[in-house]
Amino acid sequence: MIELKNIEKYYANKGVKSYILRHVTTSIKQGEFISIMGPSGAGKSTLLNILGMLEEPTYGEYHFMGEDVTAMNERKRIELYRNHIGFVFQAYHLIDEMTVAENIEAPLLYKKIPGAERKSRIADVLDRFNMVAKKDLFPNQLSGGQQQLVGIARALVAQPSIILADEPTGNLQSAQAEQIMDLFKKLNEEEGITILQVTHSEKNAQYGNRILTIEDGVIKEDVSVNN
C-alpha cells in the first residue's frame, strides 16, 4: 500500500543541514496496525506528516497505492488523501464553531457526497460511537475522551483505507486512552483499516502488530508484535 524509498527531510540553515529524517525506507501493507515509537525529536511526527501528505520530503520516493506522491500536483494529492486518509490528532483539532454532527459532516462535504448519504453515514457513525445524544453539542461541551471519539468518528466517516494518528491518547487519562486503543484495534481487525499511530507509550504500542522505532531520524528497529 505504501512504499517509502530513501526518504530524507532536512532544514538548511546557513548552509548547515539539520536532518529530521535520513534514509527512511519501509513499506506498509494493507491491514497493518503500526506503532511508531521513539524519543522526542526523533522525527516520528514528521514521518507521519509525510505519510499523510501534509509535509513533503526533501528527497526520496513515496508511493501511495502505486502512485508517486512526490510527483503529484496539489489538487491530485488532496483528492488522494481526501479519499484514503483519515487524521486523528493529539489535540483533537475539532472546529470549535461546529457541532459534533457538523464536525463529522465536514469531510463528507469536501468529498461532495450527496445529502441523503451524508445523513445516513453520520447517523451510522454517531450510533456506533454512542454519541447520538451529543450530536448537537459543541466541542467545548465535551470531555477530552469524547472529543477524541468525535475526532476518530470524523476520520472514519469518510471511509478511509488508512488512519494516521499522532499520539491520539497523549492528552487523555488512562481509562479513556484504553477505550480509544480498543476502538483502534477493533477497527483494524473487524474492518481491515490500516492504522499508523505515533505513541510514547509502550503499552499502547502493544495494541498493534508492528512497531517501528525511530531515533535521530533513522529507523532503528522494525519488529512484529504477536498478541
Binding site: S45, N49, G52, L54, E55, R75, I78, Y81, R82, F87, F89, A91, H93, L94, I95, D96, E97, M98, E102, E105, A106, P107, L109, Y110, K111, R154, A158
Partner: protein, 789 residues
C-alpha cells in the same frame, strides 16, 4: 457546504460580539457615508438630464470682452431665437424665455408670489415637461393663458380642477389656466411655478418688441436635429451678433444643456469646469471612505487570524482545497457587508433629512429605480470582495501542519501589510483634517473680511406694485422714519447682495478708446451713505434736494483707481452720453462675490423711479420684532396687494458662501467619519498586537516592568505609524489645498497650524485608542499568559 459555512459565519459573528460590532459598525458607517455622497453626486450629475432630448439641447452663451477680460453669460437678445431658428443649419427648435422672476398671482383673496417664466411654444417642445392636464400643442398661443405646475395649482386652487379657471397677474391681466404640468424637478436649472406666453410679456413690457441685438435680456435654448450637426451649428453661431449688428463685438456659442449646471465656469470664452470639480472631490471622498472602511475590515479580520488558523489547518487536513477556503472567507465578508449595508441603509434614511436640511437640497432614495438597486448591489459585492480579499487570501494560505503543530505562524509579512494599510488610512484622515482646517480658515477669513458697509440691522424691502411710484416711495420712507423702526432709509436700484446692472458706456479724459471697461451702475436715494453704513472717502454725497445733482455722480474707490483719476472730485465723466461731474468717492463695498476684488461702480441719484429695493437701517434702540411688525404694517398700508417681501442683508449675504460652506460641512462630517473608521482600524491592529505580544508582555512584567513601561513600549510603535502617515499626508494635503485656494482672489496663506492640528489630533486619538485596548493586556496577570506555553 454553503449552508454550513453560512451557519459557521453567523456563529462566529455571534461569538465575538464586540469584534463583530466594530467590524460591522465601521463598515456600515463607511458604506453610509459613501452612499450619501454618491446620492448627492448622482443628484448633481443628473441636473437637467430629465428631458428626452436633453443631450441635443443647447444654451446660447455670449462671450464679451470687457476690461481686458472675457465675460460669458447665458444672456442673449430677444431676437436671437428667431434668427437661430431660421438661419442656423441643423436647428430643430429654438426658443426664447425669461429667467424665472417673482410675480404676483391672485385667485380671489389668495395672493401668491410665484416664479414666472415667459416663453414661446417651442420651449415646451425642447423641454418635454409632463402634461397632467391640457394639450402640449395648444398651449402658450393664446395671449391670456397660463400653465401651472402641479404643486402651484394646488396652492392656488386646492383640490379643485384648475383647468379653464382664471387667475390674475399683478392685478392687471386675467389669465385662463390652459394646462397643468408636473413640477420641474429640484435638480434642474430652470425652476418655475408657472409659464406664460411671450406675447403677454411683450404686451406688458412694450420695449421687448423692439429688435435690439445690444440688449441681452433672455435665455435662448436650441435643440439640434442631430448632435453630428453641432460643430457646424456652433461655427455658424459664432458670428451671429456681427452679422446682425455691425458694431457688436459679442460672440455667441452653444453650451450643452446637460453641462449647464456643472460646467458653468468660463475662461476666455471656453468652458473650464465649475461645480464638476467639487463633485469630483466628493466622488473621490466617497471612494476613499469606502476604501478605508474596507481596510478596516481587512485589519480586523486578519487580526483574528490566530483564532481562525486552527480551523483552516483542520479543514485543510480533512480535505479542503484552498479554493473552498477562499470561498468560505469571501462568503463571510459578503455576509458582513450585507448586514452592514442594511445598517447603512437605516443610517442613510435617518440622516438624509438632516443632511438635506444642512445643504438645503432635496435628496431622496428612489426605491422604484432599478438603477439604484443595481448600483447598491454592485457596491455591496464590490465592498465584500475588496474587504474580504486580503483576509481570504491570507488566512487560506496557512500551512496546516504548522498551524496544527502549534507553531507560530510567520507574521512578519502580514504585520507589515497591515501597518501599510493603517498608514494609508491615517494619511487620508490627516489630509482631511488639514483640508478641513484650511477650508474653515479661508471661509472665516473671507466672512470676516471688511465688506465696506455695515450689514448688521440692515434690511431690504423689495419695491413692488404701487411702490414703484416715487411719491409712494417717498411716503414709505417718511412713515418708516416716523414710526421709529428705522433710523435711515434709502433706495437702491438692485439687490444690494447681488450683481446687476453694468455698462461699458462710460468715457472720461485719458481713457483708452479701444478698451471696454465694465462699470456697475446704481441709482441711489438720499441718505445712502448713512443707511448703508459705508464711508465717504472724499467730496460729498449726492442729494436730490440739490437741483444740480441730477448731473452729478459719485464713484467708488475701485472706479477712481481704474480710471486713474488724480483729482477725482470735479472730474468730468461722460455717462451714457451725458456729461456728468463726480462729486464724491465712496469706499469700496462688496455687492457681488466676497472672494473677488470690488468692481468699479458709479452712483447717480434716482430720479426715474429706478429703485428695486428700499434699504432700511433698523433702529438699534427698538426691539427688532416690534420694528418688523411696524414695517410690515406700513408696507402693507402702501401696497396691500403684495405680500411683504423683506429680508435681512446679512442673511442674503450668507448665501454667497453656500458652496464653500457645503464643502466645509461635508469635509467636516466625512473627515470625522474617516478618522473614526481609521481609529477602528487602529483598534484592530492594537487587538492583534495585544494577542501577539501577550507572552512578551508577561515576560517583561515578570522581569519587573510596570504597566506604564509597557504602555509606552507598545504606544511607541503606533505613534511611529501615525507620524509616518502625517509626514506623507503633509505634502499631499499642501498640494491639494493650495490648488483649491488658488481659485480665490482673496485667500489666506497656508500656515503651519492645520498641520500641527492634524498631527496632534491624530496622535492623541491613536494613543487613546491603543491604550484603551492595551491597558487590559498590560495589567493582566502574567501567569495567565505564560501558563499555557
Amino acid at each position: 457546504m454553503f449552508k454550513l459555512n453560512l451557519k459557521i459565519a453567523l456563529r462566529n459573528l455571534w461569538k465575538n460580539k464586540g469584534f463583530s460590532l466594530i467590524n460591522i459598525g465601521g463598515l456600515a458607517i463607511g458604506l453610509a457615508s459613501c452612499m450619501i455622497l454618491l446620492i448627492y453626486v448622482a443628484y448633481e450629475w443628473s441636473y437637467d438630464k430629465q428631458f428626452k432630448n436633453s443631450d441635443k439641447t443647447y444654451v446660447v452663451y455670449q462671450n464679451l470682452v470687457a476690461s481686458g477680460k472675457t465675460f460669458s453669460w447665458p444672456w442673449t437678445p430677444n431676437v436671437m431665437a428667431n434668427e437661430v431658428q431660421e438661419k442656423i443649419p441643423g436647428v430643430k427648435y429654438a426658443s426664447h424665455s425669461t429667467y424665472p422672476r417673482p410675480n404676483l398671482i391672485t385667485v380671489g383673496e389668495n395672493r401668491l408670489s410665484a416664479k414666472v417664466v415667459f416663453t414661446d411654444p417651442n420651449f415646451l417642445k425642447i423641454l418635454d415637461y409632463k402634461f397632467i392636464k391640457g394639450n402640449s400643442n395648444q398651449v402658450l398661443k393664446d395671449i391670456n393663458s397660463i400653465i401651472l405646475t402641479k404643486s402651484f395649482a394646488e396652492k392656488l386652487f386646492g383640490n379643485e380642477d384648475p383647468m379653464n379657471k382664471t387667475v390674475k397677474l399683478e392685478n392687471q391681466d386675467v389669465l385662463k389656466v390652459s394646462a397643468v404640468i408636473e413640477d420641474a424637478p429640484a435638480n434642474s436649472s430652470i425652476v418655475f411655478e408657472c409659464l406664460m406666453p411671450w406675447t403677454l410679456f411683450e404686451k406688458r413690457e412694450p420695449w421687448v418688441k423692439e429688435s435690439n441685438w445690444g440688449n441681452n435680456m433672455c435665455l435662448t435654448l436650441v435643440q439640434l436635429r442631430d448632435n453630428n450637426l453641432f460643430s457646424s451649428a456652433n461655427a455658424a453661431m459664432e458670428g451671429i451678433y456681427k452679422r446682425n449688428s455691425k458694431d457688436n463685438v459679442a460672440v455667441a456659442l452653444l453650451h450643452p444643456l446637460t453641462k449647464w449646471h456643472l460646467y458653468s465656469d468660463f475662461e476666455n470664452g471656453k468652458s473650464v469646469g465649475g461645480k464638476i470639480d467639487q463633485l469630483k472631490i466628493f466622488l473621490l471622498l466617497a471612494f476613499c471612505i469606502l476604501l478605508i472602511a474596507c481596510v478596516n475590515f481587512m485589519n480586523l479580520s486578519t487580526a483574528r487570524s490566530e483564532r481562525r488558523a486552527k480551523e483552516v489547518g483542520v479543514r485543510k487536513a480533512i480535505g479542503s482545497t484552498r479554493k473552498s477556503l477562499i470561498n468560505q472567507f469571501f462568503l463571510e465578508s459578503i455576509l458582513i457587508t450585507f448586514i452592514s449595508t442594511v445598517l447603512a441603509f437605516i443610517l442613510v434614511e435617518i440622516s438624509l433629512p438632516y443632511f438635506n436640511n444642512l445643504l438645503n437640497i432635496k435628496l431622496t432614495i428612489d426605491y422604484t429605480n432599478s438603477g439604484f438597486w443595481i448600483a447598491l448591489f454592485s457596491l455591496m459585492i464590490f465592498t465584500g470582495f475588496v474587504a474580504g480579499s486580503y483576509p481570504a487570501l491570507y488566512l487560506s494560505s496557512f500551512e496546516p501542519i504548522k498551524v496544527l503543530k502549534g507553531l507560530k505562524i510567520k507574521t512578519d509579512s502580514s504585520v507589515s501589510v497591515r501597518k501599510v494599510l493603517v498608514i494609508g488610512q491615517f494619511v487620508f484622515a490627516a489630509c482631511l483634517i488639514i483640508c478641513t482646517a484650511v477650508i474653515y480658515q479661508q471661509l472665516n477669513y473671507v466672512k470676516n473680511k471688511p465688506i465696506g458697509y455695515n450689514q448688521a440691522n440692515l434690511m431690504q424691502i423689495a419695491v413692488e406694485g404701487k411702490m414703484h411710484d416715487s411719491s409712494k416711495l417717498e411716503l414709505l420712507k417718511t412713515q418708516l422714519l416716523k414710526s421709529g423702526a428705522a433710523t435711515h432709509v434709502t433706495s437702491f436700484s438692485s439687490d444690494v447682495t447681488e450683481g446687476g446692472n453694468n455698462t461699458t458706456n462710460i468715457e472720461w479724459e485719458g481713457k483708452n478708446p479701444k478698451e471696454l471697461i465694465s462699470f456697475n451702475h446704481r441709482a441711489i436715494g438720499n441718505d445712502f451713505i448713512e443707511t448703508m453704513g459705508t464711508e465717504l472717502m472724499s467730496g460729498r454725497a449726492l442729494s436730490s434736494q440739490l437741483k444740480n445733482d441730477t448731473n452729478n455722480v459719485m464713484l467708488n474707490e475701485a472706479a477712481v483707481k481704474m480710471m486713474g483719476l488724480k483729482w477725482p472730485i470735479g472730474a468730468t465723466i461722460t455717462f451714457w452720453g451725458n456729461k456728468m461731474t463726480n462729486v464724491g468717492v465712496v469706499k469700496d463695498f462688496v455687492v457681488e462675490s466676497a472672494y473677488q476684488k470690488v468692481a468699479p461702480m458709479i452712483f447717480y441719484i434716482d430720479n426715474h423711479s429706478d429703485a428695486s429695493v428700499m434699504l432700511v437701517r433698523l433702529n438699534p434702540d427698538q426691539n427688532i420684532s416690534s420694528s418688523l411688525a411696524q414695517i410690515d404694517e406700513i408696507v402693507k398700508g402702501i401696497e396691500p396687494n403684495y405680500p411683504v417681501n423683506r429680508k435681512f442683508v446679512n442673511e442674503s449675504f450668507e448665501v454667497k458662501f453656500q458652496d464653500e460652506k457645503l464643502l466645509g460641512t461635508l469635509s467636516n462630517w466625512f473627515g470625522g467619519f474617516a478618522i473614526f473608521i481609521s481609529c477602528l482600524g487602529l483598534l484592530g491592529l492594537a487587538l492583534y498586537m495585544a494577542e501577539q505580544r501577550k507572552k512578551e508582555i508577561s515576560i517583561r512584567k515578570v522581569l519587573g516592568a510596570t504597566t506604564g513601561n509597557i504602555l509606552t513600549l507598545l504606544n511607541k510603535e503606533f505613534i511611529k505609524l501615525v507620524a509616518i502617515a502625517n509626514l506623507i499626508a503633509f505634502p499631499l494635503a499642501y498640494i491639494i489645498i493650495n490648488k483649491w485656494l488658488s481659485t480665490f482672489e482673496y485667500r489666506i496663506s497656508i500656515s503651519f497650524l492645520p498641520f500641527a492640528l492634524a498631527i496632534s489630533v491624530s496622535i492623541v486619538i491613536a494613543v487613546l485608542t491603543v491604550s484603551m485596548q492595551l491597558i487590559k493586556v498590560a495589567k493582566a496577570n502574567p501567569i495567565d499568559a505564560l501558563k499555557y506555553e
